[in-house]
Symmetry: D2
Subunit: 385 residues, 4 copies
């Protein structure tokens, strides 16, 4: 148990700056009270999540949503709040030029512009000290024939190579795949196989990031996790959960057993080892729930799944598997899953100098009342869609 | 063939006013040139679709997107343009009050407000002469436990009953179902069975509308069409197409064979007979394609599928079916599907005094150049999300 | 807690006779040791499940797989073993005549034969004292056009009406729906809406049975459960679990949270009340795991989900829901789900005079070694596909 | 048009020996009249398909279903019938030893046995002159924890490497992926990415085969085809069609537009060029339709899709794509799809000395009546599941 606690104490879950702003669906964005107006306020909110959970010490930025004049100042501000800057997320989907694509666009001019933005993000990595660039492309087509599937791969490969070349020492990019949305017929990086194939060709600084909401129905995500870990190509996670499409609900809310299975493969494949370099990031849309508590709950959900995964009796499991004892092996896994780890985690938090119940502690802190009162006027942060 | 042409000549496909405005995804709405600024301009665009296809004589309105001071004047404007007002579509999903639901909201105050809007739409039916109210509810919940599934059905039933009571003679409402989005765990009218059960209890003025993009993967839509026609409960269609979720692509673009099968069941079930009262409506989002040509193409796609469905040799089909001739029966259907009906439809258009190729005719009409030049300034119509 | 235990003590989960025989996929049926050779041996195995769990007192029969000369004698045998006969399951899918359908077949002769079998099953209900007939039809078509979707509904309605008429007092039938397999284009009862519509027309003796593996991907099963309970049309469950199609894995194995949500709606809708008449049945294929332990584990999985559902703090939940507290309401539900109910259930078993751990008790009982040794020769029971 | 005909004349679609035997679902295998009793009779039936279509000159074998004492004699028999031996398909899923896997089984003994079978298949390649080995593994697990996902990849890699080493000059193997069935939780080669990654490591003699029924719902198969062609890793197709899971219906029956899109990517990527080495094979289950006509229809469906794909005006398409003309580019593709190519193909057949209508020609040939009369007694071929 001591070992488990040590691992849990070292766990590091990154929250995204955009989770603190407004988000919604194409039907409606419901604004909430106290929402940040700028990146500085987003970092302050993120610092709350870390203050109450103890395991969310970094914050991902999204460019241009988090564009500031002085990134060094922003990084300093983060440090003062007790957090650090995590991955830099690029955005090549919200300029009018990108209607038909960014790096895979038929027009060389648009591609140039998009790649330019990616290179700018590399500069921001330097300015903020971030070591990870996350690349998600909304690129794709809505209609068969709209553009040439293969030519778009050629263009994608070219852009990725240019960005790869610019990465400094100790820097990497994570390539994200997504089956659909906003493109509705074909996406240029639709699945892990596509991302993997590009990353293998580029080299060790290119890795795959698994967004848990980006798969076709029924796809076994933990298999992908196990496979990528075996190949040394799992760069990280964008955690969230879904019942249907890319619903972007709180991680663990839709299928906590799946989250446990994913974390089990992470543990089994050595992915919690800091040297494995797996980034555990949240990427969610709190459309109707309050944002800071939504992030706290999500961090706790990952933590609980991790604790259960660590509780699996690996020796017993291996023995049952070797014997072909189907029910016995399954039972070993389920024993861990069925364990209530909340007391263990409350104890851990106490040892870390935190409140046993982060949700209650935040609710009682008065922070929300404070920001709701103070953050009046200005333009609330959001996606700007 | 004469009979087929007569049926095709009488076909009536309704286009939605909102198809002429901007639309997009949660990631980005790409504005287009020449987009209408008000309902009057939307009707003008819809009239173009009718002018070139000859079978799109009505336009659905959406309240409040198409709110005007004088509906009688709007209806008059439509008549002058050669079109009429079709179904009135209610909107109880874009007010801040509706974050957790409208007619199924836990709060009686919000429910009252939502029902009030629906009753206002009945008034607009009277003012415009529309005989059909289309009800789609975004109501649902994102998280298990968020609200009580059963209580929400009670509330839904209550609201529907109130609206039903207010419907005048010769009026009806169509209840739309949708599996998910914007609610991501449970939707209050998720499937045809739910809509059907409510409509059966209410009576003959309540019918089900089938949006072709609102089903779980793999669901056989033509079965639902056949079933509802058998029950006298098919009120109409919201046509569009999808590869994944509610992609809202042009109808027939993703799976033209499915559209043909749907239209075959319509034909077989007598649904083209005007007395059947089946409304054939489009409901799409032209996110990246130009809007008016997108509607023209969609109308043509439905027309082509209808022509093929009418070409099915029903006697030969029945004979093969009765004999249990699996391949023979399938071949009869496929023979019709594989026929190129474009020459027949070109001929039909010529007989109707139209150009043989509506897409080319529109492109050559100069209409787009005109609106692109004229519609400058003002606020382009859109969803206002 | 006393109340919860009382409810759990009264719970009644029916196991199916065919779960004790061999089963498999189209690729291979792997025979296992000790498998029963006749219905008497199947009942003996089922009695073991009840002996160790205390809540599986009845066994469903499948005709003709469980055809015997003297059903009264079989029922007497069951009573001696401490169990009773549950639902009678009809089979109109394994005769060569049924290749293109049974009650919906184009040929009146085949339909007559199929309906005759269903009526024979009603006779067997009388002979065995069973009050429930379960109707599953493999009927459907593989190719568009193969047969007429609507005519098949007419034929289905006719057969159901005939069977319904023959049901004695206190008897009922449950109509099962299934999206696909073995029919691969259209199934004649594909979804709950279809089953519901037929049952409503027939009357109170016709109810819907929910097989948890028979839905399209993403369908919210607990919504259907809640809806059918509200309508008084939920006749029962065929429990199993699946990741993909109708995988027929052990219930609760693929998505234990879903099973909990289903049981919560059962509890909330009064479905555990014996007067509600909801039959809780297992319907699984133990293709690779040993059959008796597979059933014991499945019964325990349903029991654990039920215990968690009963632990939900309904008052706190209602309060949070009424306030629109999204995270709070979800948390109330999750608190119950995250509770480890195994100690409670062990205690309950002890109070019922059972071993605390049914799996271990069965494993230590020597029963398997006994049947493996004794059941040599003869024809092992299976589906006979 | 001359060029198109030349390409179509050279097309080569391989039929599988097992399509001529009985097949079915886990619920029932319906036997048909005239079904072959041995590999020699299967080849005779396959020769009929070639005789009437002119483009199905080879037949895939399945070991052990097509095990014979003298493969050279079988190959000679095939030549006399006017056909050749195509791919050799291994079977490591029907021995009792393979209940928990074959090459990924926890037991080294079972893995040895399975690999031994694969090597035996390489020997049969030599004996028959086949240059292609097709590897499909049913390997996988039904329950989380049942076995170690990663260890199974290690074992798979080891077995593949051993087989790869044994391949002679000019020989290759095709690795098939499948999402699920008969394994229902995790499959060891679930998707193209997994197959691709293994093949890349092995070398040029290992390629991926795309079975069109083996994907999750919504997966864009033509994207995979385009991607693998770009990488030089598309070894071939197992054609069939599906509405739900691996339904194994006739190719083109469920979604003819998808088949066209796939064939378009084949054409666009140079996959029809014999030097590309893409094998076009059918892999279907004619559960209810007659087998030989089922194969003829399937060959014709692929041929029709190919003809349409060849009709695409590539220059016009490229021009529209380059301009970002969404509707225009889509229209170019649809123009080809909407063309009725049956007259062209009838003409082609006439030029090839064949009847214009293969289905009618076969029906009128008396072959079925002959085999139905002659093939009485003996054991009909089937899967032996």
């Amino acid at each position: 148990m001591t070992d488990i606690k040590a691992v849990l104490r070292a766990q590091h879950i990154e929250t995204p700056s955009w989770a603190y702003g407004n988000s919604g669906t194409r039907f409606k964005v419901f604004a909430q009270k106290g929402v940040p107006r700028d990146p500085y306020e987003k970092l302050a909110d993120a610092a709350q999540v870390h203050a109450h959970t103890g395991i969310a010490p970094t914050v991902a930025l999204h460019i241009p949503w988090d564009k500031v004049d002085d990134y060094a100042d922003l990084a300093r501000h983060a440090r003062e709040l007790g957090v650090g800057i995590g991955a830099i997320n690029s955005n090549v989907f919200q300029d009018d030029d990108y209607m038909l694509g960014s790096v895979t666009h038929p027009s060389a001019r648009v591609r140039r512009k998009a790649t330019g933005h990616l290179l700018e993000c590399v500069d921001i990595m330097d300015a903020t000290g971030s070591d990870t660039l996350k690349l998600w492309f909304s690129d794709g087509i809505n209609y068969p024939g709209q553009d040439d599937l293969r030519a778009r791969q050629d263009r994608l490969a070219e852009a990725l190579a240019e960005v790869y070349e610019r990465l400094g020492d100790g820097r990497r990019f994570l390539l994200e795949y997504k089956l659909f949305e906003p493109a509705f017929y074909a996406t240029d990086v639709p699945d892990w196989g596509t991302a993997y194939a590009h990353c293998v060709k580029l080299g060790p600084k290119a890795q795959v990031v698994v967004d848990t909401g980006h798969h076709a129905p029924g796809v076994n995500i933990e298999f992908i996790v196990a496979f990528l870990l075996r190949e040394g190509k799992l760069g990280g996670f964008d955690f969230n959960s879904r019942f249907y499409a890319d619903d972007d609900l709180m991680v663990g809310a839709a299928d906590p057993f799946q989250l446990f299975r994913i974390m089990y493969e992470v543990v089994r494949g050595g992915g919690l080892d800091p040297e494995a370099g797996v980034a555990f990031m949240l990427d969610q849309c709190h459309n109707i729930e309050p944002k800071i508590p939504g992030q706290i709950r999500s961090v706790m959900n990952v933590q609980e799944a991790t604790a259960k995964a660590l509780l699996v009796d690996r020796d017993a499991l291996s023995a049952s598997q070797a014997e072909g004892d189907v029910l016995g092996a399954n039972a070993v896994l389920m024993d861990a899953y069925n364990t209530d780890v909340r007391p263990l985690l409350a104890e851990l938090r106490e040892e870390m100098g935190l409140a046993r119940d982060p949700m209650a502690a935040y609710a009682g802190s008065g922070y929300f009342e404070k920001i709701a009162a103070e953050r009046v006027g200005g333009q609330q942060a959001g996606w700007g869609a």
